[in-house]
């Protein structure tokens, strides 16, 4: 079992005094291939994907537009693949999945109020709101994945980041095509 191997490695590193003062500490091996940036990015990516999926789930019920349905399915498929890979990497690193800031008025993440508003919207209003939220999510997701590509350490994590940047950039272009008069993201700058 990979998580068990990671835990064993962590225990070994601690026991042999290899732990240094660099970012992760208690119970996780700071030495080696992954860094605090890798962990933070993976945790945040998991939180963001988990927040996005309920929006995508709404699409088939709320719209009959085949182009919208195709895009939602495409994004959902790639998000689920990225989510699985991110969770597996966190388990391999022996890191907790939860991040201390998840779910709280984070850039690119829907608030509970916004999700409620979206659930009661239909037609054009739904398209407009959903496009805004998807754009905010994809933009933020590409931004932090680019930072991980540059600043991360573990090749599997930076590789995943590269995939996220590619897929996110392509999906943003598709979204712009679909939502021809791009509306501003529903989250103004001051809300970050």
């Amino acid at each position: 079992m990979r998580p068990r191997l990671a835990a064993l490695l962590a225990a070994l590193l601690l026991a042999t005094g290899c732990a240094t003062g660099t970012p992760p500490a208690t119970g996780t091996p700071p030495a080696g291939q992954f860094s605090a940036t890798d962990i933070a990015w993976l945790q945040l990516s998991v939180a963001m994907a988990e927040r996005l999926l309920p929006i995508l789930d709404l699409v088939p019920d709320r719209t009959t537009d085949p182009a919208w349905r195709r895009l939602a399915t495409r994004i959902e498929t790639s998000e689920r693949i990225h989510l699985t890979r991110a969770r597996r990497l966190l388990a391999d690193f022996g890191a907790p999945v939860a991040n201390p800031h998840e779910g709280h008025d984070m850039p690119g993440m829907l608030t509970d109020e916004e999700l409620t508003a979206l659930r009661s919207a239909t037609g054009r209003t739904f398209h407009r709101l959903a496009a805004g939220h998807l754009r905010a999510h994809l933009t933020q997701s590409v931004r932090i994945a680019s930072a991980e590509q540059q600043g991360g350490s573990d090749p599997a994590a930076t590789g995943l980041a590269a995939t996220v940047v590619r897929a996110g950039t392509a999906d943003l272009a598709r979204l712009d095509h679909l939502d021809r008069a791009p509306t501003l993201p529903p989250v103004p700058a001051a809300r970050q």
Partner: protein
């Protein structure tokens, strides 16, 4: 409209506020000292207080967090930074050492940050931000063995994910309006007063780690006025006190992290080792109230 910068005319008022705040701290420690069973000479020591402060005005705002999201600019909700003027998502200890700072004393180049407060979606920054280093909340013999924070310590206090007041250690009150009861969420402060936030960091360190996966569990709060065996090293209690130039209807207020009870604070220690050790030795262990220069007042 109230501005984020302190108005010159309100300076004396602010000073009075600081004095009152200090008096309250004194009174608070009087209560602690007079209820502490092991106090050697209560008559003499009753209002002695182990303290040195750093007053660090607002420096800058960024959606960055070098502790929780290191290396990921823009990954965080908006933070307001105090102390070192260079802090961003990529900041590590060498960046802080020798950096410019907004703190009095200038020797404190640590970085402190909190979620930005908004009123009607407009950021409001504290006009007074004081970081007290205290020796209290534990037995006098524990205070006497206080160790300085290790250089490079990273620590988060409070709960950014609090789902309600029950999950929170935040405390909101009104400066100059003691009759308004403190709350874990925003309070409605009368006109002419300021909203204030208190947050106490944990003061028992595990003696080993500069950080931990949740950025909290390498330190813990005291149990029965002592540090538990898992976290045996007593360090100063860092108390963050922020005074915001706002009052009135709390429904207009929010933090970048959500409601008032999600208040939290991040601390990245970059005090020069000898300077921090001296203050712990001269102010905290002997229970002496020191000024910004770390000398007895």
């Amino acid at each position: 409209m109230e501005s984020a910068a302190p108005h010159p005319a309100s300076r004396s008022l602010l000073r009075l506020g600081t004095a009152i705040g200090a008096l309250l701290v004194l009174l608070g420690s009087y209560v602690v000292a007079s209820t502490a069973p092991a106090d050697a000479a209560p008559g003499v020591n009753a209002i002695r207080v182990a303290e040195f402060p750093a007053d660090c005005t607002y420096s800058h705002r960024l959606p960055d967090d070098p502790i929780v999201f290191p290396g990921l600019p823009g990954a965080s909700h908006m933070h307001s930074f105090f102390g070192s003027t260079v802090t961003n998502a990529h900041t590590t200890l060498p960046d802080l050492v020798g950096s410019a700072t907004t703190c009095n004393p200038r020797v404190d180049v640590s970085s402190y940050w909190v979620p930005t407060l908004y009123r009607d979606d407009v950021p409001v920054e504290p006009s007074i931000a004081t970081f007290y280093y205290l020796g209290e909340g534990v037995r006098p013999d524990v205070v006497a063995q206080t160790q300085p924070f290790p250089l490079g310590l990273r620590l988060v206090a409070g709960n950014a994910r609090a789902a309600g007041p029950g999950d929170s250690i935040a405390r909101w009150s009104c400066l100059h309006a003691g009759h308004v009861p403190p709350s874990k969420d925003f309070v409605n402060c009368p006109a002419g007063t300021m909203l204030e936030s208190y947050l106490d960091f944990p003061q028992c360190w595990n003696g080993r780690d500069l950080d931990s996966p949740d950025h909290k569990s390498h330190l813990t709060y005291p149990v029965n006025q002592a540090c538990p065996a898992s976290h045996p090293v007593h360090v100063p209690k860092l108390r963050q006190v922020l005074r915001y130039p706002v009052n009135g209807d709390p429904s207009r207020l929010r933090l970048a992290s959500g409601p008032g009870y999600t208040m939290h604070g991040d601390f990245f220690n970059a005090w020069p080792v000898e300077e921090l050790a001296r203050r712990v030795r001269d102010c905290i262990r002997p229970v002496i109230k020191c000024g910004h220069d770390g000398r007895p007042l």
